[in-house]
Amino acid sequence: MPDGVATGENVEGERPEDEPRADRDAVTEHDEDVQLERTIGLVGGLAIGVGTMIGAGIFVFPGLAAANAGPAAAISFAVGGVIALLVALPTAELATAMPRSGGGYYFISRCLGTAGGAIVGLGLWLGLVFASAFYLVGLGHYVTAVLAEVGVTLPVSPVIPVGLVFAVLLTALSILGTENTAALQNVIVGLLLLILGLFLTFGVLDALGVFGRATAPQQLFPRGYFPVLSTAALVFTSYLGFAQVATVAGEIKRPARNLPQAMVGSVVLVTVFYVVTIFVATSSFGADKLGTFGETAMVEVARNLLGLPGAVAILLAGLLATFSSANASILSASRSVYALSRDALLPRRASRVNLRWGTPHVALLAAGGPIVVLVATGQVEVLAEVASFLHLVMYGLICIALLAVRRRDPGWYDPSFRTPGSPVLPAVGALASFALIAFMRGASIAIGVIIMVLSYVWYRYYAGTVRLRGEV
């Protein structure tokens, strides 16, 4: 655990909280016999990772990605998966050494300094806000598709209104709901994987000609190689979930074992699902036609393969998946706000727990409020890219943090999981993360850079004297 004493205070005179005394398998211990129970097991951790990721990659992106890169979109997803894995390994190592809430923010603030941590922490919060808005717009598309399926026609597109309604609903539910929904989340993710597993198995057999139907013949790289990488940048939003596992690292049981397995496992699992999905989707229709179906392209793929029941199953799965992704992101965003407020980089009152409901209403509103605004823009691709941008900056810095802390090797640094291939693989991970940013559209990069600059200005103004523990 990072040693040394946190110093300084923010403009309100609040100081960073003291670090816990010890991390054990089942609890985090503070002084005076005060303990924090760890209650999330391996299945719960995987459900957070997979549940956050799978909504976007399968149910929103296939059409968009195929339109950009053709059948090579499958390669775009594979590239994204490899980069995610290169980052997931260092993240897992850091998380086993520092199993605390806040994930990437915590590692970077302790290994690279408070300023970098503040930029990443505020970026993580807003990155999750952008990601959640993106999932909700995706959800809006699915509800619209359901309405179209049952023959309801509306004078205006219901995509954005539906997204807004669900943004408000989810925020309200997370503030007022005291029912334990973690078990429900596990069931939803299990159900999704089952539906997708069956569907994809059938799709692969069909694509290989087992059922004797013709597949759409096509060129792998109809638009050359560049779109493969720019599409990888776009769809990288499908790989943000493993970092969400790290944001609840403080609540994971047996962190030494469960954190690496949940992070690496969820990345590998979704990568396989994504690549197979794109393969099936492009084989079924051809990339050009697939591209014209937009966000709900998978519904048409299912209809083509399995008729109406297939379409209904995928519609249902799409609703569940985008909903659970948005929900998981709101909760993670609220955890990020808590982590920043604990370290006096945001006001302490931002993580206040409501006395009536026991929920952090301020932090949840700090997630839900901006999400509503962003959903209103309806810009699926920009929302996705800004979310990816902010996460990619964090991912690159996580890799650098790993290299820095290993080089310095402070006494408290004792990870139980060690990244293979260091320093080469983490360095490649950092370079790849930053390089992917270069393939995004200008608007997304500009928004991301502005958020980072504002984060730094906030830090200098609000908490410029705060120096967190572990720094040298």
């Binding site: 909280e17 816990p20 398998d25 089942a26 609890v27 985090t28 503070h30 005076e32 016999d33 005060v34 303990q35 924090l36 129970e37 760890r38 209650t39 097991g41 391996l42 299945v43 809430s101 997370s174 503030i175 709901g177 005291t178 334990n180 929904t181 973690a182 609840v248 403080g250 609540e251 049981k253 047996r254 909760l331 609220s334 955890r335 808590y338 604990r342 302490r348 993580s351 206040r352 727990v353 409901w357 026991g358 929920t359 952090p360 949840l364």
Partner: protein
Amino acid sequence: MPERPAVLVPVRVLAGESIPEGVPELLAHAHVVLLGVHVIPEQTAPGQARMQFEERGNRKLDEYEAVFEDAGATVERRLVFTHEAQQTVDRMIYEHDCLAVLVPNATSAPEEVLVPVRGTVGIDRLATVVAGLFGPTDAAVTLYHVVGPEETDEDVTVLLEGLSDRLTEAGLPADRIHTATASPEDTVDAIAAMAEDFDAVVMGETDPSLTTYLFGMPADAVADQFLGPVLVVQRERPDDAETAPE
């Protein structure tokens, strides 16, 4: 002087629960493991609740710790923030080798204690708790067995006398031990009805099975009907069990 049996006393300190009257006297000869537990919804990080509630929780625990110590118990305490109360209770039982868990309800100073006995399983632990807590007091202990259809009188006598002997060996005088039997339909109802004339109940935990999964633990059912305190003697935990399963 027998060793003090460790008894876990879980209290939801921040939900207004307190130590009911009579409980400190009941546990005067126990080693009390005082667990202040605060259950939070999953939207809230345990550390987040700690920042806000640690001070208040500790103040309450200070108060309760003093009450138990004044009554004569030795006390160890923890304040735990958790999403799952049951997991925390199980972990505390394991980590602190607790023989029994208290379901706290108000009572008067214990004079009459009911000890329902199911069978020979776990009888050593039951004897340790009963003799440890009530040996040094003046309380009378009634061993109560609900006779099953396939049990002979001889079986019952062997069971109750066996326990009686163990209690006497462990320091509870024989003249304060009584026995009673009955053969009604419903065990839980019979125990709860019988308990009305007693100040406290000490009974064994049932092994988890489909029945306990569907209908809950008999000890919990008794505690719901009987308005006094129930001490639930825990099954033996295997030594190599994980503190946090999975």
